[in-house]
Symmetry: D2
Subunit: 394 residues, 4 copies
């Protein structure tokens, strides 16, 4: 996991440990549904965790922070899982802040190298970490999942078009050709690991990087985990469509108080998130109602996230009506089981020797790579068909 | 329409007239979606309306009441459509209060015969009305749709088992073998009309009556139009299921102020409605969370209906979270286009010579006859496949 | 405290211990506001706790239940306060179920005497407990506060009119002249303790008992702590009044999952609660809009309580508009600081030698004894004036 | 009225006409409460209306727009009041766009002079209009109320300090010393009329202008009518204070679709509004919780305004809880009766020969001039005491 000691990373760690020790049921895991029972996915409790982290914080400290600040988890579960989590800490290596924006200022003490020579050197360091992790634990497959904070949007550059050009650019000392998320993506690809981007950052979604991933035959997917408000949109907007009700305006406002919220209080970073969240409605209904997606940082909420959506719509004889929803959940708790799902499902692809974009995982993302379908029901059927051998790739 | 001058009935009338005169777009009509464009459904503006009504009120008075009390419709539209609506008034005959409960007390001055000899006599009178309506307007097909107020739940009786027994019971003077909605259903069947039950009342859903309908080859369906809160449940509950989130409690409360609300303030009647609305959640998720469906009469709301649903659910590591929605719509405006849809779709079945339960119409009902599937997405696909000739009956 | 190990009782205990040890700030204590700083109220951390309890449960078990089920409190605070709480456990004696309704069935194992001879005998036993508590701890003053579950409404009886008649009735073996809450009230009065009723149960509010309290010169007050929805009503309804906006309907629905919720799922008990909550609106606005107060038991919510209120109102030119609020709080956390306030403020009255109804405490109650004023602002001013020596009793 | 044909202006006109003809009750008028019955305020139906307007739109067209777009008013009432409203149209003169920002672009066709020589010339033109209006109708008193769109915030300038300096600056051709709202304010002052600012624009709140008003002895007050969300804050924040509950964050979001909303979609204009709305909470509770006031333009809402406020607060033992409210009202309907109140109450001051800031009117404003008290209850008592001769100016 990129960002292994963050809110999502530490929740994944506690969760996998709790599943291994039989202290928790797999609630929230899509891959634990009966539909996927006989498919031979790796048991979630047998996953071995590791990753990169730029902050001077351990996974267990991440768990404790969520427990004390946000009233998550049970202290007895934490106590019982602590030994496993500590053993994974050895698998966590310093991440990179190469090319990172000033958003990092908000995230506290940094434990990553302050200066690194070139993007190529960073990629090589990260790749070696992944390879060493796989070797030490004799792992069949490694899946790298980005659960770090959101990055600002990346401007496209000439070097992004072809891998051959990009490779040269990356070798130049001081080059800013790629954001950190993309350096991790290339490190994963070079290590032969699958790459999944749970954030709105660029990651693998740059033509030259995809070219390289396809060359190397590794599976990849992203971006931006669909955990809450957008998930609701992707089931509610189809309802309006199926009833021929005309959406006039869909106004959504999100407030949250965790590190991701702090990072998102930088307008440049927020733009990348909002872009990922918006567009769902018009893609589903086929016309362009007024839509708004707001994200604001409310520190007192900690890891809890509240979304208020006001949907103004016209019914028969042009009559205005409205519905509202309020979604109140813990960001890390909603995301972590999906991260475990993605690890299991990506490993499944690798076992079957499939590389390239995992379009059947669209239902996990706000902005699914190469997939225009945003209706959750359709995305879901595509997942079930693919994994259970209905075999139809969408 | 049974209850032709009620909120739904009068909105249907204004709407069909407005569609005929090109004053309105078919917003809210499922059957106006592109999916059904080439199927040859009857144009909504060409429908001829009529029906039965127990109250001393005209359709146009119903329209005016909604306009003045509930701020629905545009007065210029009403003025332009009034001549058509008045012309339909001649097609409205006195309904029956035979066997009706005391709920009727709340609905004002009665224009129906106070005493009628026997259920059989009532059925014959109603049947003759339908036949005469069809004859006068040279109609190819008649669809009878029950949009009257809800009736109390009916206790099953021995005579309900076989049509031969029922027929005898109905001939007895003063017999209370059937509620009014079922007398209308039998009148429709005898007149060769399709019968659709938009209310939770019994209607056709009594074995002996279905036996007769099947004998006569008429199509029928019900019950209880799915217009708001239940519609939302049938798209939101699948989302919780697809994400393996465990619903702990689903608490729903509805408040409304129209005649249906007044009738539902009688606990016996409410029981029939609540029964129809409950059960959706557990049917979809496959286990039994605590569920509650409340309906309360708040007169000041008039035709407007507000539903508040609080969904308490557990996510990963058993973490409690919640979502809420508030649905705020006009009952008549939500229902009327679906009534037009049902008329068009039932007529389509008749044209194609199909009788029996129209299971493909499940997505229109809270409690679809012979259909256990409550997920709206699946119901919708069944509709599209049936009507567009994918041909698979569910 | 009557009901010492219940949700409120155990939260009070943890809170007083935490205040004593300097582990908590007095958030939520009205009596800790600057207005009351120089009045000489007893320091909350110096209170000595004890009480009666009918269940086989300790205070510390009550604390643990709230922590584990409802994610309340910090486990480190509990650990540090446990010794103090255990020391108070010795002050908790078996309560009485004499005259209690079947609601008790829902509350688990009973540790109170199954049979007691007469109400008089019960009162004497409880009184002796209070006296012994005061003696052992050399207390200057004792305040008895009822924080037990709600009782069903009591029918008035002839014996309720005069203490002389009541006394005779209470002596009769098996007499059901009074509910348990009133037996406790009489025990407190006979022990010279103040009595405060935080529940909607009868308690002291029976003429014969008040006669006795006045005779004995003890202060008393009730009933039903104003902790959430009603508190909001008592500040929002005045706003509508001050703006001359006409409330059409005020529809409120409460859901909660604690023991009180379970007890309230008995309709007879609920009636007493609903009566206490209703009437606030019309008392404030001076006319009678449609009002509804619902309470439903949703077990998964535990100690958390959610209230949804929909206020339909007319503005200028009779235009309908609406506001809604959703209140989401922990019942015990909201109530406990007010219980501490009431202990401090009642002790203050005793120190100053005042007995009788403490009308200046109206702002703490849904149904304040002898006070018709329901506007919270006015009640508050009455409190401040009385306690700070403005001296005007309302 | 400045902005006589806008949403508020036209609603005031319809309302006064309806009150004159006995077609409406004075719902929403504070000044119609029993408290002010015997004070001798001018009867609302006897007010004579006039004003300035920059748009090419009549008052009656404003009424029709609200009726057709926003479903406000009853068409029969409009028909009956139209003759009176038309008669007032003669009292509406071209306003000024001198010094107005580009926000005006959004408001349609302009009927005001495109070029005017100097601020002094504008003031003189407007003054003459007011004087002529008073003369033609033989009015005892004129109250000028600004109900136009919000202006961007004004930077303070040297000329704002003293009237003598300002007067010179205003005489310079092309001078931009003052925004339009302040030109109207000076015109009113010179005409001997009272001036009330119902918007967040500068108006009279510039030292040099106040100096002049005080010199001339005219009463004045502002700014920004307190109609909805802020009104609720000013009754709810005191509740949290009185209960010693600690507000952690108060997050408020407003959406609206009328002309004011369009104007506010200009960030510079919005800043002036947000500033007026924020600060209420910390002023009431005495500390600085995180607060947010958002305003967004959602065109489909028309004159309807929805506010969602999420209040995160800590209770006993630092337990986080929350309340939310949703306010759904028509901007014009909420504002219009307060405008009538202000006219009546300002005229009352004039009759009694009082000039200067009308601090007792604080309860009508988000940002009351010279008043720091934001608790609505206290502001209300100040109003009642002043008007009914309790005589205490706060």
């Amino acid at each position: 996991m990129i960002g292994a000691a963050g809110g999502i990373g530490s929740t994944v760690a506690l969760g996998v440990a709790a599943l291994r020790k039989g202290l928790a049921e797999p609630i929230g895991l899509v891959s634990a549904l009966p539909q996927f029972e006989d498919v031979g996915l790796i048991a979630p409790g047998t996953l071995v965790l590791g990753g990169h982290e730029v902050r001077a914080m351990t996974i267990l400290e991440g768990v404790q922070e969520l427990h004390q600040r946000d009233r998550l988890f049970d202290e007895r579960m934490i106590a019982k899982c602590a030994p496993i989590i500590r053993s994974w800490q050895k698998n966590v290596r310093p991440g990179t802040i190469y090319g990172s924006s000033r958003s990092l200022r908000v995230i506290g003490e940094i434990a990553a190298p302050k200066r690194e020579r070139s993007p190529a050197a960073v990629i090589e360091r990260l790749r070696a970490d992944i390879a060493s992790f796989a070797r030490r634990h004799r792992l069949d497959r490694v899946v790298v999942i980005n659960v770090a904070s959101s990055e600002p949007m990346v401007r496209s550059a000439a070097a992004h078009a072809r891998y051959s050009r990009l490779e040269k650019a990356l070798a130049k000392p001081g080059s800013k050709a790629l954001p950190a998320s993309s350096l991790y993506a290339l490190a994963a690809i070079e290590a032969g690991a699958a790459y999944v981007n749970f954030t709105p950052s660029a990651g693998v979604a740059i033509p030259a990087i995809r070219e390289r991933a396809d060359q190397r035959g590794v599976p990849y997917m992203g971006s931006d985990g669909k955990t809450g408000e957008t998930l609701l949109k992707s089931v509610l907007a189809p309802m309006f469509a199926m009833r021929n009700l005309r959406i006039l305006s869909w106004y959504g406002q999100n407030i949250l108080g965790n590190r991701d919220g702090a990072v998102l209080s930088d307008p440049r970073t927020r733009a990348s998130k909002v872009k990922s969240k918006d567009g769902v409605i018009s893609s589903i209904v086929g016309y362009k109602p007024m839509t708004h997606v707001g994200i604001d940082y409310v520190p007192s909420l900690g890891d809890w996230k509240v979304a208020w959506d006001f949907v103004h719509f016209a019914g028969f004889l042009n009559t205005p009506m409205h519905m509202q929803f309020i979604w109140h959940g813990s960001d890390s708790i909603l995301a972590a089981p999906l991260v475990i799902d993605l690890a299991r499902l990506a490993a499944h692809e690798m076992r079957d020797g499939r590389g390239g974009p995992m379009r059947h995982l669209a239902c996990f993302f706000k902005n699914p790579l190469d997939v225009t379908e945003q209706k959750h029901g359709k995305q879901w059927r595509s997942l079930v068909e693919h994994v259970t051998g209905g075999g139809e790739r969408q």
